[in-house]
Symmetry: C2
Subunit: 291 residues, 2 copies
C-alpha cells in the first residue's frame, strides 16, 4: 500500500504522541517534529507508511539516545497480557467454535498498538471489547470459512506477528491451531530489531510462544513486512507456506497491493481511516481477509 | 495563544484538505505539503496558529497561482447564508430575548469555516443546529449577563468579523444591537486581503453589512487579528471601543494571552481540541467569554 497524503499529518501526530509517551522534553519533542518535517520532501509516496514509521522512530531513537525506547512499555504490555492469559484461555475452552474464538481473540489483541493509536496499556480493555455484544463479525470482512478450509489443508503455517502484548493473544490462537492440528508445523515470525512496540525474539521467548511455534526473525527492521528487507530464511518460508497469517495494519500496509500470489490472510483491527478506506471498512472493524 | 506541537499535524491536514477543495492536482497537493514541511523547522512556536495559517495559504496561493483561491466558495457561502436570512430574522423576531437569539445565531454561524474544518457549505446545517434541543448554553462558557451589561453602557462597539457566510449571521446580531440601541456606533472590521474564506470589504458590502455598521479593514492579512499587523485606524478603535466583539477561533488565537486590558468578548464555536483545552470546553461548545 502506498502512502497517501492523508498519512502525513498522522506521521507527525504519531511522532509527537510517541515522544510524549517516552518522556521527551518539550525541546526534544520540537526537535523530533523538525527532523520529521525535513524528511517529508524526500519521502517517496509510493513507499508504504511503515517505511515512514521507521524513519520517524529512528529520529525518536536518535533524539532520545535510546536503541529501544519502548522496551519497558513492551515488557509491561506482555506482562499485563499474560495476567489475563487464563481468562482468555477459558473463553476458548467455553466456546462452541474454539478456532473462531481464537481468531476473534487474536484480532482483538491487535487493538494494542502504539503505532496507530496510543491507548496506553489497553490489554484489559480487550476483555471489555470481547464481552461487548457490539463486536459483530461482518461477513464482508471476516472470511472465516475460507480461512478454515485453507488451514485444514495446510502442513506449514507461517504466522507473522505484530505487537508486544498482542503476541499473547496470538499465542492463544496458535495453541488452538496446534490443539486442532498437532501435526502441522507452525512458525511465528518477529521483527529483527526493536521498532516501536513491535515484537522481537525477546518478546516471543518471554511470553512462551516458543512452546507452541518455532520463532524466527523475518529480518524486518520496520513496523511491517517489506519483503525486500527480509532475510532468506523468512522469504523461503513465506513462499513455501501453505497458509500465512499476517497480523496488524503494518503488515497489511506492506504486503497488500504487491501482486503477491501466496495463501495469505490478513488479521487486524482497523485503526486508521486510510486503511479503513482501503478495506472498505470502518475504524474498529475486525478483519480476517485473504490477500 | 502560542502554537502547540499538536497544531502541527493540523497545519498539514488543513493544507491538504484546502488543496483538495480548491481542485489542486495530486502533484500540486504534494508540492504544497512539501513546502509546508520546509517551513516547520523555522516556525517559532511562540507565534500563533493563524500566523502559520497564513504561511500555509500563501503556499497554496503560490502553487495554484491564485490570489484569492476561495473567492468562489466565499461568494457561495454568502449567497447561501443570505438565502436563509429571512428565516434567521424570523427566529429573532419570534424569540423572547432577541439579543440572546442574535448572539446565539452569530456564534452558530461560526461553524462555517474552511480553516479549522471543511464541511463545505454548511450554512443550511446551522438551522438544524439551532433547532436542535441539544444546543445548551453552558453558563461556564456563555457570559451573557456580563456581555449585556457591558453593551448597555457602550457608545462605540467594535465587531471583528471572521468568515464569509458567517458574516450574514453577524449581520443579524448587528441589526439587533442597532434595534435595541440606535444611538450606539457600530464598526465592523474585516481582513485587509483575501485569506482562506475570511471576510474582506467586498464580502461586507455584498451582504449589506454596511447598512448597519461602518466597515473598516483591520489591516490584518492573516486569518486572525495580530495587533502588530493591524492599521492605525483599527488600532485606535480597538483601544477606544467600549465593547469589542471578536468572532471565531482565529481572532481568539491571536488576541488571547496578550495581556490586553480591553473590554473584549470572544464569540466562537470550539472547532479544535487545542482551543477546547484552552477554554476548558469541548468541540462544538458555544463560547461567549470576556477576555
Amino acid at each position: 500500500m502506498k502512502t497517501y497524503l492523508e498519512c502525513i499529518p498522522c506521521f507527525f501526530k504519531q511522532g509527537i504522541e510517541s515522544a510524549k509517551i517516552l518522556g521527551a522534553t518539550k525541546d526534544q519533542q520540537k526537535q523530533i517534529v523538525d527532523e520529521i518535517a525535513k524528511t517529508i520532501p524526500c519521502f517517496p509516496l509510493d513507499s508504504s507508511p511503515p517505511e515512514m514509521g521507521k524513519i520517524v522512530h529512528d529520529i525518536i531513537k536518535k533524539v532520545l539516545k535510546a536503541d529501544d525506547p519502548y522496551k519497558q512499555l513492551k515488557q509491561e504490555s506482555n506482562q499485563i497480557a499474560l495476567s489475563i492469559y487464563k481468562k482468555l484461555k477459558q473463553k476458548v475452552i467455553n466456546s462452541e467454535d474454539k478456532l473462531l474464538t481464537g481468531l476473534h481473540l487474536s484480532i482483538a489483541g491487535n487493538i494494542i498498538d502504539y503505532g496507530a493509536n496510543h491507548n496506553v496499556h489497553p490489554e484489559r480493555e480487550v476483555l471489555k471489547i470481547l464481552d461487548s455484544k457490539n463486536t459483530i463479525l461482518n461477513k464482508r470482512h471476516f472470511h472465516y470459512l475460507a480461512f478454515k478450509k485453507r488451514l485444514e489443508k495446510a502442513d506449514l503455517i507461517l504466522f507473522i506477528g505484530d505487537n508486544a502484548g498482542e503476541i499473547v493473544f496470538d499465542k492463544i490462537l496458535a495453541e488452538e491451531i496446534k490443539n486442532l492440528y498437532p501435526a502441522k508445523k507452525l512458525v511465528y515470525a518477529v521483527r529483527e530489531t526493536p521498532i516501536i512496540n513491535d515484537i522481537t525474539t525477546e518478546d516471543a521467548l518471554f511470553v512462551g510462544m516458543d512452546e507452541t511455534a518455532q520463532i524466527i526473525s523475518s529480518g524486518s527492521d520496520i513496523p511491517g513486512t517489506l519483503l525486500s528487507r527480509c532475510n532468506d530464511e523468512f522469504l523461503s518460508l513465506f513462499h513455501r507456506a501453505d497458509i500465512i497469517i499476517s497480523k496488524g495494519q503494518g503488515n497489511f500496509e506492506t504486503l497488500a497491493d504487491k501482486n503477491l500470489s501466496v495463501p495469505l490472510f490478513f488479521l487486524l483491527t482497523v485503526k486508521c481511516p486510510v486503511v479503513g478506506d482501503k478495506l472498505n471498512a470502518k475504524i474498529g472493524d475486525f478483519i480476517l481477509k485473504p490477500l
